[in-house]
């Protein structure tokens, strides 16, 4: 209860803060629209030559793109900014303040930042998803919607865990800013369903950087391809990654306080 109210307070303060900078809102809209147009041109180019891509039809690929934009917005609104601040805190020693608070420090470092204007991408992504679903031949049912929401949430959890582990390496290696570029580059692969990639890359995108679970699996739910087994697998993987990320974080904090020395 206390943790929820804490997260809510941070969210409220973060939103109030961002509302001061309205120019950013318009810049974000422009940026998001450009990204959308570029994405649509890409799709159009592909389907100029063929009618399906490894079993995915045009509206289905549109759904993948929608999820990609939506998830990207979520990551940049809620996950990435927190992790960047954590990096700064470890470098500058201001993490001390988070560690001397009577609340689990992992919660504090995960909820402090929120970039409201990135929500533009979430809304835009949702719009693309709706447009795609309307053009699908199969009927979109309530279980599909439910599966989609669960898959989306699990994907978000997995990306968060991945980011937290990546950021926690800062406790040992201080300079890890390049990681952001690395992540953005790999996430960009999520624009297409992972099934179109060669096996080795698909494995990496599924289990190392869970882009497959963050984008492709929710898109599978939208297009009626999601099997209960995949969803169960996603649940297990999310739980496993969460435990692993927590372990890495705790080891990092131990190292920070010199407990391991």
């Amino acid at each position: 209860m206390r943790l929820l109210s804490l997260a809510y307070t941070y969210l409220r303060v973060g939103i109030l803060n961002e509302l001061q900078y309205r120019v950013n809102f318009f810049i974000q809209i422009l940026q998001s629209l450009i990204a959308l147009v570029v994405g649509l041109i890409g799709l159009w180019l592909v389907f100029d030559h063929t009618t399906d891509l490894n079993g995915w039809t045009q509206p289905e690929l549109l759904a993948v793109m929608g999820v990609f934009i939506l998830m990207g917005g979520l990551i940049r609104a809620a996950i990435q900014p927190n992790m960047m601040r954590l990096l700064d805190d470890v470098q500058q020693g201001t993490l001390d303040f988070a560690l001397t608070k009577p609340v689990d420090a992992q919660v504090i470092v995960s909820v402090r930042e929120f970039r409201l204007w990135q929500v533009v991408d979430v809304i835009l992504g949702l719009g693309v998803v709706v447009a795609a679903v309307l053009r699908l031949e199969s009927r979109f049912t309530l279980p599909d919607l439910l599966g989609f929401l669960i898959a989306l949430a699990l994907g978000g959890v997995m990306i968060y865990c991945f980011w937290l582990m990546l950021t926690s390496t800062a406790f040992w290696i201080i300079r890890v800013y390049e990681l952001v570029n690395l992540f953005e580059g790999l996430y960009a692969a999520g624009r297409w369903p992972v099934s179109i990639y060669p096996n080795w890359l698909r494995f990496g995108l599924t289990f190392l950087i869970p882009v497959a679970f963050a984008v492709t699996v929710p898109a599978e739910a939208l297009t009626g391809r999601l099997t209960p087994l995949t969803l169960l697998g996603a649940g297990l993987l999310a739980a496993g990654l969460f435990l692993l990320a927590r372990l890495v974080w705790r080891l990092g904090v131990r190292n920070y306080s010199g407990a391991s020395a």
Binding site: R2, S5, L6, T9, Y10, V13, L16, N17, Q92, G93, T94, D96, F97, L99, T100, K101, P102, V103, I108, S257, G258, A259, A261
Partner: protein, 347 residues
């Protein structure tokens, strides 16, 4: 160096029927050692260090022991790198001790239990915890959520502190637009909203002008008086220590050099006193009495060995026509500097 028992402990021994005061901070043979890589200059050495790292142990804190009782304000003095911050970090749970014992409010700090963390606070003069782009009021709100302070208590404390520090007009401004001193005042308000019982203040007045230092000092003193909180303070400004702390702990090279009254520090480490005198009949030669620090017209200032003070004073009074004479201790800064210099030479 022998540890000087605090006044309370001495008092305790003489009055055995009184309940025993429980120290709020209890440190016994506490040490913190760091392993630091040794690297010599030069490319070849750097390359060799990649494969075979040489380490050296640095004793940042070396078997220190002390007690602090409820409501005490203790100044923690020492040159840079003496081990002050390392000790404060161990006391606030940020660093694990290498060996020895620490108890703060009965807890082992490094376990970082909630009940412990709810009762302490850490202020670092060179680091901010308030969000840069937000008005301080928003950051206070976050503190309220973190500590789960009930709404009415939160408002009452916040307004009390804001009034005491005269911040009414500033709480709505983004923190980045405040001056260094104003920001520090805000930091302190934010750090005390949960009304901690133990305050660890690491250089809270660093870089501030004299007026601002005084305001912060007064506020800390007032907080200590109102709520009976214990304060451990490090500062480079002796004025802070003189105004706030009856007791000081002097630390150097990770070891305690002195623990006791501030006045006792001067008594113990200063070998000299200063005699200021005004003569009735103009300048005369005073070299025979001691080292003449200054002499202007009929005013003069002499530095004399402490043990000789009374003998020289009476000689002056009988042999010269003295209009006024005072004997003073040297400034505390000078004493401290002497202590550290002596130690540096000895080391």
């Amino acid at each position: 160096m022998a540890k000087i028992p605090s006044l309370l402990v001495v008092f305790q021994r003489k009055n055995k029927h009184l309940p025993k005061p429980i120290p709020i901070i209890h440190v016994a043979r506490l040490s913190k050692h760091y392993q630091v890589p040794v690297r010599e200059a030069g490319l070849r050495q750097a390359a060799r260090a990649l494969i075979q790292r040489q380490h050296r142990t640095v004793k940042a804190v070396d078997e220190i022991s002390f007690f602090i009782h409820p409501g005490e304000v203790v100044g923690f003095l020492g040159p840079n790198g003496a081990g002050k911050t390392t000790t404060l970090k161990m006391l606030s749970g940020l660093l694990h001790p290498t060996s020895g014992q620490v108890r703060v409010l009965g807890y082992e700090p490094h376990r970082r239990q909630r009940a412990f963390l709810e009762q302490i606070t850490l202020v670092m003069g060179n680091r901010n915890q308030l969000a840069w782009d937000l008005p301080a009021l928003d950051s206070f709100e976050l503190q309220r959520a973190i500590y789960g302070i009930p709404e009415h208590e939160y408002r009452q404390r916040r307004d009390e502190f804001i009034a005491l520090l005269d911040l009414q007009d500033l709480v709505h401004k983004p923190v980045r637009n405040l001056s260094l001193g104003e920001r520090m005042k805000m930091e302190i308000v934010g750090a005390l909203l949960h009304r901690p019982q133990v305050l660890f203040l690491d250089e809270p007045t660093i870089g501030l002008d004299v007026t601002m230092q005084r305001r912060i000092r007064t506020f800390i003193s007032e907080y200590n008086r109102r709520y009976g909180a214990s304060v451990m303070l490090t500062s480079h400004y002796m004025a802070d220590v003189e105004a706030l702390c009856k007791r000081v702990i002097v630390i150097h090279h990770g070891r305690i050099l002195y623990d006791g009254d501030l006045s006792g520090l001067v008594e113990r480490f200063s070998a000299y006193k200063t005699i200021n005198l005004t003569l009735k009949n103009g300048p005369v030669s005073l070299e025979q009495y001691g080292e003449v620090v200054s002499q202007e017209g009929s005013n003069a200032s002499l530095r004399v060995p402490k043990s000789e003070t009374s003998r020289i004073t009476s000689r002056l009074l009988t042999e010269q026509a003295v209009a006024d004479l005072t004997v003073v201790d040297p400034p505390i800064e000078d004493v401290i500097e002497t202590v550290f210099n002596q130690q540096a030479e000895a080391a």
